[in-house]
Every structure is written in C-alpha cells, then in structure tokens.
Symmetry: C6
Subunit: 75 residues, 6 copies
Amino acid sequence: MSGTWLATLQTETPEDGWNLAVKLSRMGVKATQPSDEVRTRLRSVYAEDADSLIASSQVVAMNFQTVAAANNYWR
Amino acid sequence: MSGTWLATLQTETPEDGWNLAVKLSRMGVKATQPSDEVRTRLRSVYAEDADSLIASSQVVAMNFQTVAAANNYWR
Amino acid sequence: MSGTWLATLQTETPEDGWNLAVKLSRMGVKATQPSDEVRTRLRSVYAEDADSLIASSQVVAMNFQTVAAANNYWR
Amino acid sequence: MSGTWLATLQTETPEDGWNLAVKLSRMGVKATQPSDEVRTRLRSVYAEDADSLIASSQVVAMNFQTVAAANNYWR
Amino acid sequence: MSGTWLATLQTETPEDGWNLAVKLSRMGVKATQPSDEVRTRLRSVYAEDADSLIASSQVVAMNFQTVAAANNYWR
Amino acid sequence: MSGTWLATLQTETPEDGWNLAVKLSRMGVKATQPSDEVRTRLRSVYAEDADSLIASSQVVAMNFQTVAAANNYWR
C-alpha cells in the first residue's frame, strides 16, 4: 500500500464515492492478503459463489456509509 | 457501471429510498461479479436459500441506513 | 412491492418502530425472493435453525437502528 | 408480543441499557420463531456453539448501539 | 451479571475504551451462555479457529464504535 | 497489550486512519488469541480463504468508520 492511495474521503459525486467504497473494500482484503496473484486467483472462485458475493456487497455497503457521511451525503 | 447510475442519494419518499437501497445492494454484488449472466444464474440458487436471503436482507438494511440518513429520514 | 407499503419511518411508539423494523427485514428478503409461497416454505425451515434465527435478529437490529434514529429515539 | 414490552428506549443506567439490548436481541429471534418451546430447545444447542455465541454477542452489540445513542450515552 | 459491572461508558483513554469494548463483547457472550466453565472450554476451541477470531474482532469493533462515540472519540 | 498501543484515534491523514483501522482489527483478534505464534499460523491459512478475507475486510471497514468519525472525516 503506497503512501498516497487514500488522500481524501471527499468525492465529487455519489458515484465516485461508491467507487471509493469498492476500492476500500478491496484494500481491506489486501491488508490481509498482499499478493495480487493470490487475490486474483481467489476472486475467480468467490465471484461464482453467491454467499461470497453477498458478503462482498455488505463490505461495500459499510464502506459506503463512511464515504457518504464524509461527504455529508452529497447534499 | 455507467457513469450515471447513482446521481444522488436523495429520494422523494421512504419507499423510493428503500428501492435505492436494494439497487445499491445489487450494485455491490455487481462490483465483484460484473457478468449479468452469472448473477442471474446465482440468484436462482440463493433465492431458495434461507441464509442467503437473510444475508441479502442485511445488506439492504445497511444501505438503507445510508439512504435514510442522506434524506434526514424523510422527516 | 406496492407503492404504499412504506409511507414513513415515523411511528408513535418504540414498539411500533420495532414492528416496522421487523417488516423492513422481511421486505429485504422479499426483494430477492418475491414469491410468498417460497418464503413461507423457507421460513418453516430456518425458524428451527438457531444460526438463521440469530442472523434474522441481527437484520431486525440493523433496521431498528434506522427507525429509532428516524424517530429521534422517541425522546 | 404484547403491546407494552417496549415502552421506551430510555434507561436509568448503562447496565439497564445493556439489559434492554439483550432483551431486544431475544425479541428479534422471537419475531421469527414465536414458540417459547422451540426457542428454549434451540438455545440449549447454540449456547454450546462458539460461533453462535459470537453471533449472538454481535446482535447485542448492535442493539446496544441503538440504546446507548437513545440515552445520549448516559453522559 | 452483578449490578455494577457497567457503571459508565466514559473512559479516560482510548485504550481503556478499547478494553471496555472487549469486555462488552464477552458480556454479550455471557448473556447467552452464563457458565464460566462452558465459555472457557469453548474459547480454547475458537481461539484456534480463524473465522471465529475474525468474527470476535468484529464484535469488538462494533462495541468500540459505541464506546468511542460515548467518549466523543476522546477528542 | 501494553498500555500505550492506542494513545489517540486522531491521525494526520485518511491513510494513516486506515492503517489504524487495520491495526484495531488485528488487536481485536489478539484480544481473543494473544499468542503471536498461533495468530501467525492461522493467518497463513485464512489469507488463502476468500470468505475469511472478505470477513477481515468487513472488520477493517467497521473500525475505519470509527476512526473516520473520530477525525471528522479529515474534512
């Protein structure tokens, strides 16, 4: 994790915020499994597993809560 | 994910907000499994699995927390 | 899901709010499995499964967080 | 669920609030499995299962978040 | 659970708050399994199970959210 | 857990906050399994398990919510 991957939680649009939440979710996996090769290999498996996908969606939802609050919900 | 699927978190009614939360939950799955074909196939399986359904409901609940806060709970 | 099942998050009492949270949890399941027949069949199974029941309770808890906040905790 | 089991989220002390959170967690299970007999039987099983106990603790934690916020953290 | 185990959510330091969150997580287990003997026996098993440990960490995280908010994040 | 591992929740940057959230997640595991040797051994297993990695990412997300709020989202 280089020193500049997360400079700010502010985004211009809700959709950019969503994409940041997806990125945070992946970085959360990377924190435990730093190998790109292993993560890519595992993804090909769990992308076909319904429960893994639902769990992934939950992580994105949780990170999106943070990003949305950081942006005052883009109001 | 095209650039305009999430223009705002504001909705006119709580029910529209709920529907947005359902959509966000599906987009969270799509972030990991972009193939419509695979997602449709998997859904036919997990829609018959109680634990998968409960987990899905939890993701919707989490996204609804975000959307409801974004709308100041439609007060 | 007809257009009027969720008109407001405001309830008169905490208990009404709890009941709304239970309803939201069920609607979250319905979003993925619209068939009343299938949901009724599945419920007869998971209502006997401790882990499913605990997971269900967690979804209610999450939705109750939202409803309680929407009502300023009925203070 | 009789009409008066949840009159308020306010409690005198943090510990009373904790006990209310435990009660809410059990009512969340009761919402899906209303039978006292079945719940008692299931509890004797999952009270010996580490993962079930951890999941139960998580539900209590979530409900305690709500109760604590409702009481302004007893500050 | 004696009447004085949770007198306040306020702590002097973030670390004390963390320790309180750990305590709350254990009390959440105790609410379902009051026997010290059984909990000790189960812990020796799940302390060797990665998924149980991750789930435990999640419960601590959730309780820490509550404690940190109660202390205005020790700002 | 020595007395000085968590002096503050405030960090200079969002990325430092993320790293603190990762640390908190690991300390949450350590609270149940204090042995460095056992945790290292278990990690080599669950770092190859997709569902464990997703669950780990969720714990980081939850702790990051706390840290981000503590820093007023670095706004």
